[in-house]
């Protein structure tokens, strides 16, 4: 069972397909869960503490906006754990954790420079594309075993 990071990191379709095919999908909600359910959280109404942007400094410079560093404090450790990646380019709608274009560029760059197997795809727009989409993901994941 390989640890597979998916991009967009909040994708329901990709995380489901990875889990359905017997691998572990590395996704942002898991990182968020660790943060929000921890009883020692410093600022209860928020899920980010002042420490998070500091953790993000490992991935982005100090002059990079804190929003990027904050997101990287969640996504960065996931990238470090990843053994493979599935990237779906330009879905045209990304919100929340995945809604920052600069963070997304950095995430894709870090995944690609990590040297792990990467599958590049686009979201399907018709049934034939969907079948190819599912088939490519299955072949890619089977190749990781």
């Amino acid at each position: 069972m390989a640890k597979v990071i998916v991009y967009p990191p909040t994708s329901m379709i990709l995380s489901d397909l990875v889990a359905r095919m017997g691998h572990k999908a590395l996704v942002v909600p898991e990182a968020v869960r660790n943060l929000v359910t921890e009883s020692k959280i410093q600022s209860p109404p928020l899920n980010m503490t002042p420490e998070e942007p500091k953790k993000g400094l490992r991935y982005a410079a100090v002059d990079v906006p804190s929003g990027v560093r904050g997101r990287m404090s969640l996504i960065g450790p996931i990238i470090e754990k990843a053994e493979a990646a599935i990237i779906v380019e330009d879905p045209g709608w990304l919100t929340g954790c995945a809604g920052c274009s600069r963070t997304n560029e950095l995430v894709r760059l870090l995944i690609r420079t990590k040297g792990i197997p990467v599958l590049d795809l686009s979201y399907p727009t018709n049934d034939d594309e969907a079948r190819v989409f599912v088939q490519k993901i299955r072949s890619f994941l089977e190749g990781l075993n």
């Binding site: 329901m12 379709i13 995380s15 869960r33 928020l46 929340g96 995945a98 594309e129 969907a130 079948r131």
Partner: protein, 140 residues
């Protein structure tokens, strides 16, 4: 460790969120269930949820999708009842992907047939060298 997962049904699935909720109520598992417009949210111990997810998937293997959620169900930091209404921040992503779910469901159901359609090659941008030639031809 307590985990939360979304169980989302494809818009074309014959399974309703209430069917999933009834299945969970009828199971022996000790979990929290919350029905939503697109499926249900379940919260419980990781091992229990993993086992339950397998049972739920069996209702419609190609039409039920599972997604991790960070916040527990009804968490005041995310519950719209406490935030003055409006959709929960993560809803927009689910809403956008839900539009593709019927296609993915059909693709998963058709996987057993073993036929993968060949797609026409996508148009590529004009190579700069060819553009240069066209410009030269146009100017000569």
């Amino acid at each position: 460790m307590l985990v939360t997962k979304y169980v989302i049904t494809s818009p074309e699935s014959n399974i309703l969120p209430s069917d999933i909720a009834m299945k969970i109520y009828g199971s022996k598992h000790d979990v929290t269930v919350k029905e939503t417009c697109m499926g249900v949210t379940i919260n419980g111990e990781e091992e229990v949820i993993d086992e339950l997810v397998k049972e739920i998937r069996s209702l419609d293997p190609a039409g039920i999708f599972i997604k991790d959620r960070g916040f527990p169900p009804g968490d005041p930091r995310r519950c719209r009842g406490r935030r003055g209404g409006g959709a929960r921040p993560g809803f927009y992503m689910i809403e956008s992907e839900s539009k593709i779910l019927p296609m993915i469901s059909r693709a998963l159901a058709a996987e057993g047939e073993g036929i993968v359609p060949s797609l026409p090659e996508k148009k590529r941008p004009l190579p700069p060298a060819r553009l240069e030639e066209i410009v030269k031809e146009g100017l000569s």
